[in-house]
Symmetry: D2
Subunit: 331 residues, 4 copies
């Protein structure tokens, strides 16, 4: 039983805390949050201890792993402290707001030699995993075109947008990671176009809300990622990997399996209302993979390096968005 | 080039006439109808000759084949005359209104030895044929359950219902034929329940508009056929063959491939508006099979015997509907 | 927080125990099973107390509700004892092996006046509920045809079959309940045909493994239910409700949302491997409804009377299977 | 009855000839081809007259309309001659090999004032038209992202590739036209990346076989078009129009409606084997629109100007492919 503390009991921290409380291989021993009431609520339903000062978590020898679910601007600090305290770490993405600080945190973690997993939980979605397996089993042959769609049902607040680093770093980054993972390949060239079609205030904040990124991979494969901050029909995430021998697709998914046939129409219950309903299960699966890796003494995946690489791609796509030119991917 | 005359240029006769006019292996030489104007209209667009007296068609040595698309009550007479005149015959279903007269016409045809094909065109629907092929290739293993759905978008007129012989003989008969064809098997027991849910006048005319037929086949397989005279969402025809190794389905088919995602719904363009739009293509394919069989000197299929067998099943299902008891199928 | 004890920690009892342990409105206080090891395993991961003698559960004033998940032959006894002890009861279906004993247990429960919910959890499946809502909102109009499909991926053991009461009482009973619930109507006539196509030993045990039941409802609507003990393609459960204004369907559900396009085929990840994967969520939802009803002082649904009615239908379908005649439904 | 001559009786000319022969509003009076045998074959089954010297077609006062289905390098010449002879013209795309000659031919046609329709038949596909209608009825709101997929099952010959003008001008051009038509908008910026992943010889011929084009529209909407010369699973054409109020999709279409459920898979009959099977119907519909427009004295659509605009986009996408830079669309 891995003894885990969760730092950050906001929305996603609470999800992790509940998943840990239900996991047969883990024990949620402590939770901490600057909002003490939030931490107490989680503690009440999970039986974990509330820790007011996060330092007590890093100092507690009994805690074997720390799950970092605090705001992004604290990740770098907590990653370093948890690593230096010798804890195994599950860290929500992104590593940091900027590539440089992320890279710096990564070197501290590397030096400490602790196992770290980055929370790119979409890799653990059952359907996405099935696509990955199909690719790895050669079902699609040599990959030629990848199409990724990322459309959220509603835009975050302008306050959030302003500190998010922009659409590439906040939203599209998950798909940069999926692209690398699915193809076992790295992009060499990025071109991005964007527009402010949803909310003018997003543009005023220096960001875009609608974008298309084109990428060329080392293998020669081409990729396109479209992202939108507002899908009027729920959460829309789709993967298509086209290769020399076939196409693998992780389809749009209906929320429920109900149809009405009426007049000249067939009306299905639509997509999931939000991203969480669509990928909720993958949070548990990701945690399960982390717990299993630690139990077996293996390096968890996706790694901190995966996090750095996705972050770099997001930076370079942002540059292309701004310059209107295609960018060569160089580390 | 098979020289064909079409007798009966109502709706379905016109379809056959146009298909013949377009078929590279046939020449539509003559059309005849008691409604001379109707025949003339077809002649104008196809280049066929209008024949006022149908006897001239049977007498014309130049005509090799006759396509009978007149009202059911004339089929028996025309079948006999065409057979005695030595014509190849394509006859719209059913052979006759009653099994006895159908059987009698059949013996005349048998004696004449002419090739006859019965217009069970659903056998030539591309999707149904694909199911049949899957079965014949062993994809579903030993057949265990067959589910057939037959729901028309609107009820025929009461006048039509009155002379139709009832839902079993008019509508469900196509599915008795499909069942025999798909399973290469014969029913041994039939039980039918029916109701008048669409239009009380149908009940007053002694018929039902909604029914379920359960059948047991010689092999032990079970079958259910549901029929309705009014589907509020277009023409609904579906086949499901469940066996020891899998399930083959001829799915409900959308009219067009368009979807709208909106709010919490996905709205697809629905089913075909009517039976004709759904199975239009199968009329051409059926004719093509007839022309090909004649060209190669082979017996066309479905045969007159297939027509008799389906007719017998329709009679016996009608009996079960009336008595409320299951009926043993004996010829 | 409702204090609940689970009696019976076999497969389904364990599922209920875990769900109770995770539910914010309930506390799993005790578990009991004749297999003490099984009870201990569940206790270890849920924090519940193990009770060796089930009498101690009924006697314990601190326990407010009992969840009965023991073998069917104990249900009647435990229902009575729990009711007489004044506990709220969630009882797995069926109430008893035979209608008479079920009815007798029901009168004891009625006299005690305790709230009882019968575990027809399929009513809580999200897609089935969406169909029910569509019906209740008038989307399909007046119901005319109901089609229910129940095909399990593999047959239970012959030992189980022998004590199961037969396919109608063990498998089809869920669909008799769904039929009543969906239609807000009662069957008046039942006809069933069955066969032993999967395993001859099932026939030797006096049961069938493949069956079709036709029912006529009070409203005149017709229904067909097909049941099989062996679907070679996973767990297949499907609902179709056809009415004067449209059709509502709870579709076959894919296990995952992955497709491969290859050659002349599209290959989707198939159905759920078993019934549990398909309806797992509905167990939690059913429990949630029970806990909510108790909290609000409302009668939980489905009720014991629902259980009795489904059981009667199963008995009468079994009679029809044996006699080959249609049976009038009279209580 | 519009009297039409078809010049060019290769594959697509033959299709047009047969469609004209069947159309009630047109009469196919003459066919011409440098390959006289080909013209004779078509004449035999349609009743048209064979004309050896194409000049006789332009000179024949009895011919009201000319359908140009000859190789691209003859289009400009025939367009001019047909226009100067006062014929209505249906011209297969593209207008010419190069924009300049196309523009020059267009001015001759404009001067002559004859009605001309360009054969962008995809606009007449029933599902694509349904998407267009949905957009025009405001179903998707303000368009934000358009995704177009164009993947043919196999590459044309290298000989063909060499004279085709490249993938943009030969394949993607149809989708440039669809984009303009669907959005009622014009691109202002184009960026294209391409690769030779299917056949190295295509690269040696200076072309690509796999490409992604990103476009920005005047309205701000973004578009991506992926094109491939080899889909290992049949002909794949897909449209997705995402807007402020919803998404409209013209789905991938199955060739037939058959599914097999087997083991852990559902296997559907796949896509159409080739582009022709997928869009065959649209040829008839396009011709029908042409005949109707002429009959009513209206300008047919898509017009020659539409052809010029698509051709310009193809040129500019080709330039972007070569330079690696995004191109501003200026006429």
């Amino acid at each position: 039983m891995l003894k885990v503390a969760v730092v950050g009991t906001g929305f996603i921290g609470s999800v992790h805390a509940r998943n840990l409380a239900c996991h047969p291989g883990a024990k949620l021993v402590a939770v901490s949050d600057v909002n003490l009431e939030s931490a107490k609520r989680i503690a009440a339903t999970t039986g974990a201890k509330v820790v007011a000062d996060i330092t007590d978590i890093f100092d507690n020898k009994d805690i074997e792993a720390v799950l970092i679910a605090t705001p992004t601007n604290t990740h770098v600090d907590y990653l370093k402290r948890a690593a230096q305290a010798g804890k195994a770490i599950y860290c929500e993405k992104p590593i940091g707001l900027y590539y440089q600080e992320a890279e710096q945190a990564a070197s501290v973690v590397r030096a400490a030699g602790v196992p770290v997993m980055l929370g790119f939980n979409r890799r653990f979605d059952a359907s996405h995993m099935a696509v990955k397996q199909a690719i790895d089993h050669g079902e699609v042959g040599k990959i030629e075109i990848v199409q990724l769609t990322s459309r959220g049902p509603r835009s975050p607040s302008i306050e959030y947008i302003k500190v998010s680093g922009g659409q590439m770093r906040d939203q599209t980054i998950h798909f940069f990671d999926l692209l690398r993972w699915l193809t076992n390949d790295e992009p060499v060239q990025i071109y991005a176009i964007g527009a402010t079609l949803v909310n003018a205030a997003i543009g005023e904040a220096g960001d875009v809300d609608t974008s298309i990124v084109s990428l060329r991979m080392t293998s020669g494969a081409l990729c396109q990622i479209d992202s939108s901050r507002r899908a009027a029909y729920g959460y829309d995430e789709r993967i298509e990997v086209f290769g020399s021998d076939g196409l693998a697709e992780s389809r749009r998914q209906n929320f429920r399996g109900m149809s009405i046939y009426k007049g000249r129409k067939i009306i299905e219950d639509g997509l999931h209302p939000g991203w969480f309903e669509r990928i909720e299960q993958s949070y548990y699966q990701a945690l399960d993979a982390f717990i299993e890796a630690i139990a077996q003494g293996l390096a968890p995946s996706p790694s901190l390096e995966d996090g750095l690489k996705a972050q770099l791609l997001a930076d370079q796509a942002t540059e292309s968005l701004k310059t209107g030119r295609s960018v060569k991917v160089v580390k």
